[in-house]
């Protein structure tokens, strides 16, 4: 069992927890994720590592409630435990293998959308600790859904927030903010974008036009997270990659987002579940989170 030491609700539908997992804390690096299983009958869910403390042996996770399982997980309090907590999974971000001096000469832009701000944080924190300060844009729908602002400000070079509805910071999508920064004369050698697939897709369309190489962190459906099933497979250029072992970070200009978004709908969205039920007819079987599993 993996004990929850702290449980917070920093924004609407967004939950943050510190979990005791010494083996994972000792080995994890920016860019990696964990898989959690809440209880005996729960499903395995991939979650972002938002922070880690190697000495205390803890991992900070952040998640948004999107369905039955995450709703149930949101009810956990400090002192409760996860039955299973596995990781760190996936490859660390490429930059941790790069030469620090050459990183310092690079101009990097990090873009986090919604709960995607959480996986951006350990990356910019790592860079800050190694003397590299980067520009950061965090976007959210409204002011109430913005997370980790103080933490980000403490480790970012320039920090910009934007809200879709203009309730805070720059009004509009992250893409308009990127365009504006470039118009103002900022030149970026690399952009790292993490958030909903639709956001990453539009950031990539823009940065391709602007000629900025872009890395994205893909979040497809996963089961085991160790490369044994291929549920998370996606096209990167001509190749099929498994996001859990080959990624989750890929060259965003090569990712087939339209296909990845369709695959993500399968069980995740209301539409996907409804479609599934329709297609399966009387073979429809359980766990869709839509029908209660009784028909």
């Amino acid at each position: 069992m993996y004990k929850i030491l702290k449980a917070e609700n920093p924004a609407d539908k967004i939950y943050l927890m510190d979990v005791e997992a010494p083996r994972i804390a000792r080995h994890c690096e920016p860019g990696q994720f964990v898989i959690v299983k809440m209880d005996e009958k729960g499903e395995r869910i991939p979650l972002t590592i938002c922070d880690y403390d190697k000495e205390a042996g803890t991992i900070t996770i952040v998640f948004q409630t999107v369905g039955a399982s995450t709703e149930k997980m949101a009810g956990l309090k400090a002192g409760d435990s996860f039955r299973d907590f596995t990781g760190p999974l996936g490859c660390p971000s490429d930059f941790i293998h790069e030469d620090i001096e050459s990183l310092k000469n690079k101009k990097m832009l990090f873009v986090g959308g919604g709960v995607g701000a959480a996986p951006v944080y350990p990356q910019i924190k790592w860079l800050h600790e190694h003397g590299v300060d980067v520009d950061v844009i965090v976007g959210s729908k409204t002011k109430d859904m913005l997370i980790l602002e103080d933490e980000m400000k403490a480790v970012a070079g320039n920090y910009y927030s934007c809200t879709d509805d203009g309730t805070y910071g720059h009004a509009g999508m992250v893409t308009t903010k990127i365009e504006k920064l470039v118009e103002e004369g900022n030149k970026y050698d690399v952009c790292v974008a993490i958030g909903p697939m639709i956001m990453m897709k539009f950031v990539c369309l823009l940065t391709k036009k602007l000629g900025i190489p872009t890395i994205v962190s893909m979040n497809p459906i996963m089961v085991d997270g160790t490369g044994m099933c291929g549920a998370c497979r996606l096209h990167v250029g001509e190749d099929i990659k498994f996001a859990c072992v080959d990624g989750p970070e890929f060259d965003g200009h090569l990712v087939n987002f339209d296909e990845a978004m369709k695959r993500q709908q399968m069980y995740k969205t209301q539409e996907g579940r409804a479609l599934l039920k329709l297609r399966e007819g009387d073979t429809h079987h359980g766990g869709c989170g839509n029908c209660g599993g009784d028909n």
């Binding site: 299983k37 009958k41 096209h235 069980y267």
Partner: protein
């Protein structure tokens, strides 16, 4: 009077009924039936059946105990060679191992060795007969990577010799393919697998789940930081292959590993569990091995019409004869000498069919098998909503790529000596599918035994 040329028949769930549930198909023998079958054994002096068993169980020895009605005694005889008899009795391909060597088989049916082993093991599980534990521990620490058949066997054997053994498992349940791969209707999880693993725990073996070696920690760190003196790698071959044809990333296309993991490990067939499964109404399983049969029979039980699509003919099906027979009885449709060319996808990104081509068998290739050749102009389309790819698996490169000095071959299999499991790295041993590529449960167990022997030779001289 029973016909001595024939096996005592085993009771099975009726095909029509079992096609709708996940209960075990075969009920196994009761004590009377087992004793009656045991009488058929001729108790050969130079018993050929033992040579056919990869772990060399004293088969006439345990069967003669069954004859006398001493089931506990029979269990002890099996226990000298095998740690997982309830599992092997169920899933071993006996027809090509112990039973194909049986003298009785020359003029009739061989002795039903697998079913007898299973009866003895089930009896021991039901009557809670404990395995023989080591009298004292020797203090040597050994790590075993993976809790599948090879790891469990290696750990069990070492614990019996007094070693301090810890097994590390990446998933949240123990058992490897026994829990995520082989379905409930062939190998019950609570009743058999869990109990059999309990027996390994009773030998003193420690288990740590949710540890992905190569990620959560590495083999080098286990040896340097946690002071393990030797390591056995039994990490299996879990990486699924795809065909590389158009449409394979569509919704409704699964690897057999994903489909079976959702159903077996995550219990998606049971509505009280949270993991969903897209069962499908019309399903094609591509491939002809045991995994393909398991996936097909699982989809059938979830309510679908199921087709096996295999490029060779029935005689070449690599699956166990008993499984093919069961699948046919249950109503699985076999599209033999047929190969997929493309998966057809609708505008929503879902599978809507498959374009296939008919095949014929050509000249035998280097391996002696007749090579399937496409028949020009014979392409046609099948309407489908689900495709399950069961083309085999290869070892996950994670461990080899994070362990210094561990050599692999061009198939990504770990290079290890057959007789003691020694790899190219000092104090590191390996066995099972990680070394051979996908094979059988009993061969993995044999490799686990060899690894335990190798490690014992290394550490007892220290």
């Amino acid at each position: 009077m029973a016909d001595v040329l024939k096996k005592v028949p085993v009771r099975e769930q009726e095909a029509k009924v079992r096609a709708t549930n996940f209960e075990e198909v075969c009920y196994g023998y009761d004590k009377e039936e087992a004793m009656e079958e045991a009488v058929r054994c001729l108790n050969c002096k130079n018993a050929k059946c033992i040579q056919g068993c990869p772990v060399a169980i004293d088969i006439p020895g345990f069967i003669s105990k069954v004859k006398e009605g001493d089931i506990e005694g029979a269990y002890k005889v099996i226990g000298e060679s095998s740690a997982l008899p309830a599992i092997c009795g169920r899933v071993c391909p006996q027809e090509s191992q112990c039973e194909c060597k049986c003298i009785r088989g020359i003029k009739g049916e061989p002795v039903s060795i697998g079913k007898l082993e299973r009866f003895v093991a089930d009896y021991a599980l039901e009557h809670d007969i404990k395995p023989q534990k080591a009298e004292k521990t020797n203090g040597h620490k050994v790590a075993v990577i993976g809790s599948g058949p090879s790891g469990l066997t290696c750990a069990g054997d070492l614990a019996k010799m007094g070693y301090d053994v810890t097994v590390f498992e990446a998933l949240h349940e123990l058992g490897g393919v026994l829990v995520y791969g082989i379905p409930e209707f062939r190998l019950p999880k609570e009743k058999v697998v869990k109990k059999e693993i309990e027996k390994v725990k009773e030998l003193g073996v420690k288990f740590e789940t949710n540890v992905v070696i190569g990620k959560s920690t590495t083999i080098d760190q286990l040896m340097e930081e946690e002071k393990f003196e030797a390591v056995f790698i039994g990490s299996g071959a879990g990486l699924p292959m795809f065909m590389g044809i158009p449409g394979e990333t569509a919704n409704g296309v699964f690897s057999a590993n994903e489909y079976l993991t959702r159903s077996n490990l995550m219990k998606a067939f049971d509505d009280s569990y949270d993991t969903p499964i897209a069962a499908g109404r019309k399903v094609a399983v591509v491939g002809g091995g045991n995994v393909a049969m398991d996936a097909a029979r699982t989809a059938l039980r979830l309510g679908a019409e199921v087709h096996i699509v295999y490029r060779r003919s029935e005689a070449e099906l690599p699956a166990r004869v008993e499984e093919v027979h069961h699948a046919m009885e249950e109503g699985i449709i076999f599209n033999l000498l047929t190969n997929p060319k493309e998966i057809l996808v609708d505008e929503n990104g879902w599978v809507c069919g498959m374009r296939v081509i008919k095949m014929e068998l050509g000249e035998p290739d280097a391996s002696g098998r007749r090579r399937p050749v496409e028949i020009p102009g014979s392409e046609y389309e099948i309407e489908l909503d689900t495709v399950i790819m069961s083309l085999g698996t290869s070892p996950n490169p994670l461990i080899a790529s994070t362990t210094k000095g561990l050599e692999t071959n061009r198939r990504k299999c770990i290079v290890a000596e057959e007789e003691n499991g020694q790899t190219t790295k000092a104090c590191v041993y390996a066995g099972g599918d990680a070394v051979t590529g996908a094979a059988t449960v009993i061969l993995a167990m044999g490799a686990g035994k060899a690894g335990a022997k190798g490690i014992h030779e290394l550490l007892s001289n220290k």
